[in-house]
């Protein structure tokens, strides 16, 4: 049962941080949280489809379908998070811009959350289905899974209300920082998948900090989910990580200047 707790908690934790940050930032921009409904529907549908078709997905792309799809989902989420930062900075600069932007912004929120749920949910479904239902171990898998999901949801609630205690401005600035860091972490994870499939060149890791902090430790896991902590990264991974950071900063700079012309004429 303890394995079920850990397996489910690991997956839930990653998606929770992303979704709770998006919830906090959207409510700081005075949007309703109704976007959660389509995000959950699309995310759970995506997770189910991914898990059900996993066999054919795995066979596609010469046996590297999983790597291609996972890295595409990760990079797409990073791009949506950069778009989120663009709109947040625009809002901070001129709060009235939200009237024009809300439609696109909701699309970004739904997309980012749904992609996160798809990635993490498919693994939970696969595990619960094959080890709970098929193997006939329902009680311990479902009970363990429920505990894991419960811990994940409580941590998420904690993050959400923690961010909400800040002033809207601080909450938004912090959310942009979190989005930047999560996006960069996802990009470096995507790099790993592409190296695993031999699509990106493989090189020896540049350093190994696992003696200082093991990725498998609790703190290592938390930091991996939060900032994409990697004990032994390769040069390609670090370059893509930095690329994602720069892209997010560029999106924010663009957001800052995108309304400058309007304000002068007004």
């Amino acid at each position: 049962m303890t394995s079920a707790v850990i397996i489910v908690l690991r997956e839930v934790l990653e998606a929770m941080l992303l979704i709770c940050m998006l919830m906090a930032s959207s409510s700081a921009m005075k949007l309703t949280l109704r976007w959660l409904v389509p995000a959950l529907v699309a995310g759970l549908g995506g997770a189910l489809a991914y898990a059900v078709f996993l066999e054919s997905i795995s066979m596609s792309f010469e046996g590297f379908g999983q790597e291609i799809i996972n890295s595409s989902l990760l990079v797409a989420t990073m791009l949506l998070l950069a778009a989120h930062n663009f709109f947040v900075i625009r809002y901070l600069n001129s709060p009235t811009s939200i009237a024009n932007d809300s439609c696109l912004l909701v699309f970004v929120l739904v997309g980012a959350a749904a992609l996160g749920i798809t990635r993490e949910g498919s693994e939970i479904y696969l595990y619960a289905y094959s080890y709970g239902l098929v193997a006939g171990d329902e009680t311990s898998v479902l009970a363990g899974g429920a505990i894991g999901a419960g811990i994940g949801l409580s941590l998420g609630t904690f993050i959400y209300y923690g961010l909400k205690t800040l002033t809207p401005r601080h909450c938004l600035v912090l959310s942009c920082g979190i989005a930047l860091i999560i996006g960069a972490g996802m990009t470096s994870q995507a790099a790993l998948f592409l190296a695993q499939a031999d699509i990106l060149p493989a090189t020896e890791p540049l350093w190994d900090s696992s003696a200082l902090l093991r990725e498998s430790s609790l703190l290592g896991e938390l930091l991996q989910a939060a900032i994409g902590y990697e004990a032994s990264p390769t040069l390609v991974q670090i370059s893509l990580h930095l690329g994602a950071v720069l892209l997010s900063i560029a999106a924010m700079v663009l957001g800052y200047f995108s309304l400058a012309g309007n304000r002068k004429t007004a």
Partner: protein
């Protein structure tokens, strides 16, 4: 002028040929999953070289081959196989495990 272009093209074709031969020489190793255990549970591979791992899952249940040290994770559906490229790596021990059976499904890659 023309001949230098032809020379360059020929050089490129030659290089392409060399890299293709090199990649065809990527050593292959096989790991099997049976009854939620890895066979062999210790696998020796050469250092400083990319290696192709072919993982056969003989169980009906899926398993996720995962390793923090190798930075790899891949779900292998029941009764199927998957390929994972690892390395180049420095000499040492790199543990891996099956995420769905983390207590029993354990093994390590020994790089030397």
């Amino acid at each position: 002028m023309m001949s230098s272009v032809i020379n360059r093209v020929l050089a490129l074709i030659f290089l392409w040929g060399v890299t293709t031969v090199v990649s065809a020489q990527t050593p292959e190793f096989i790991i099997e999953i049976r009854e939620h255990l890895f066979y062999p549970s210790e696998l020796k591979i050469p250092a400083g070289q990319k290696v192709k791992l072919i993982i056969y899952n003989r169980d009906a249940t899926p398993e996720e081959f995962e390793s923090y040290e190798l930075n790899r994770e891949k779900v292998i559906v029941g009764n199927s196989q998957g390929i994972v490229f690892i390395g180049p790596l420095k000499p040492g021990e790199y543990p891996f495990f099956g995420e769905f059976n983390p207590k029993t499904a354990q093994g390590k890659i020994i790089v030397e």
